[in-house]
């Protein structure tokens, strides 16, 4: 049922991700003009912005699935939440890494306690908390439910953390540059949007692929798993 469906969807999303990445990077590097202020360094936003948006979005989707799994006791949504976590954590790490590398030419320092970057770092801790809690409990059912509760508490706290970090940041140092959407040149926006779709398609493909292995693991002693073609061969 879902296992088979996921199997069919993965190649489609993977292909879509590959195509979108190619198009996005092409527009980003060849069509978009050189920025007046930062010349070429600004091209990092084409990977930094989509990954940071995605890292936040995936956390919320993960908390949503976790809540579903907890309330309706459906194992599949808990498995989806567990499958989403690593991809979300990796996106957060990429966002942090590219943010730091973008900060160096712009602000002269590898790590700047900018409100967004700091909140991104805290988001990474939330992900790691979720993953390590889930990993340290043997019984899968309790692991799912405990991690789900943590994800829900985490998602309630994310706005509070974002607000308090922004509050804290404007206290010490003015808000760093704001990329206002409208002032960006059309080609830049297109590239950004395509890259966002690309990352999104990639995230889905990865999650579905991972959830398939989790399903196999969890349902290993069921009959339908035993007579799956790939198991029998």
């Amino acid at each position: 049922m879902f296992y088979g469906l996921a199997g069919k969807l993965v190649p489609w999303f993977a292909a879509a991700a590959a195509v979108l990445f190619a198009v996005g990077l092409y527009i980003g590097f060849f069509v978009a003009p050189t920025d007046a202020v930062q010349s070429e360094a600004y091209r990092i936003i084409f990977i930094h912005v989509p990954t940071s948006i995605l890292s936040m979005f995936i956390y919320l989707v993960m908390a949503g699935y976790a809540a579903l799994g907890l309330i309706f006791n459906t194992r599949l949504s808990s498995m989806m939440a567990t499958a989403l976590a690593p991809t979300g954590a990796l996106f957060t790490f990429i966002a942090l890494w590219t943010g730091a590398l973008w900060g160096k030419p712009m602000w002269g320092a590898w790590w700047v306690w900018d409100a967004r970057l700091t909140s991104e770092l805290i988001l990474l801790f939330l992900y790691l908390g979720f993953i390590s809690l889930h990993a340290s409990i043997e019984d899968p059912r309790r692991a799912d439910r405990a991690a789900a509760l943590l994800a829900i508490v985490g998602s309630v706290n994310v706005p509070i953390i974002y607000f308090s970090v922004k509050w804290w940041n404007t206290l010490h140092q003015g808000a760093t540059i704001k990329f206002t959407g409208t002032s960006m040149q059309i080609a830049m926006q297109q590239a950004l949007f395509t890259m966002l779709l690309a990352c999104w398609a990639y995230a889905i493909a990865m999650t579905l692929l991972r959830v398939r292995s989790i399903i196999l693991e969890r349902e290993r002693n069921t009959q339908w798993v035993q007579d799956l073609p790939e198991v029998r061969s």
Partner: protein, 221 residues
């Protein structure tokens, strides 16, 4: 309400019997705070700037230390299972345990903070706001910590895990607590920070007992 008082009395009694646990948290707090001047150098101007941050981070770490014991004793000897079957609301019982834990770990920190503040030669007003901030903040740390303690019940390596789960959630408390003291030192009004801290306290007071009760049910299944 009697359940709440009952649980608090019971836990305080238990804590008094095992006074060592209480003292370790306090000594840890004092030690961490006193380490900083040794590490950073004695000149007062710098210390005064760092004081709120140091005291708050030490308070955060000290409360993490004592979280592990909030449920583990009852978990091991089985009383926690009985507690789950209690007819009254589990959240009230959990609130009692959190309150008791705060009295044992949070309150002493609040009382000790002025003494340690003098080490960083903080002015009277700065100390006052620091203590007020801690008074509002440490209960929140215990409450959020209770969720972490309940989730990691009976897990090996639970101590470190609780800190990993709980510290990110306590960051707003740290920011508003230190912000309040910095505000008063630089002369601007600190009421905003304290009000936000109080708001977090009320929010935590409403939600955490119930969430911790759910976490306990999940861990005890």
């Amino acid at each position: 309400m009697s359940l709440l008082v009952l649980v608090v009395q019971r836990d305080l009694l238990l804590a008094v019997r095992r006074r060592a646990d209480v003292l370790t948290t306090l000594i840890f707090f004092i030690m961490v705070v006193s380490l900083f001047p040794l590490g950073v150098g004695p000149e007062p101007v710098m210390l005064r700037n760092m004081a709120p941050g140091v005291v708050w981070v030490a308070a955060l770490l000290a409360s993490m230390l004592s979280l592990g014991r909030m449920f583990s004793a009852d978990y091991q000897d089985g009383t926690l299972e009985q507690m789950l079957l209690v007819p009254q609301s589990l959240s009230m019982l959990v609130l009692g345990k959190i309150l008791a834990h705060w009295m044992v770990s949070g309150l002493p920190l609040v009382l000790l903070a002025p003494v340690l503040g003098l080490q960083f030669d903080m002015t009277g007003q700065g100390l006052g706001v620091l203590v007020l901030g801690l008074l509002l903040g440490t209960p929140i740390l215990s409450m959020i910590g209770a969720i972490g303690a309940a989730l990691t019940l009976g897990l090996r390596g639970g101590g470190v895990l609780v800190s990993l789960l709980v510290l990110p959630l306590c960051i707003p408390v740290l920011i508003f607590g230190t912000g309040a003291v910095e505000a008063v030192i630089s002369g601007i009004s600190y009421s905003a920070n304290l009000l936000l801290l109080a708001a977090l306290l009320v929010l935590a007071l409403v939600f955490t007992p119930w969430v911790t009760a759910q976490a306990l049910r999940i861990s005890m299944e």
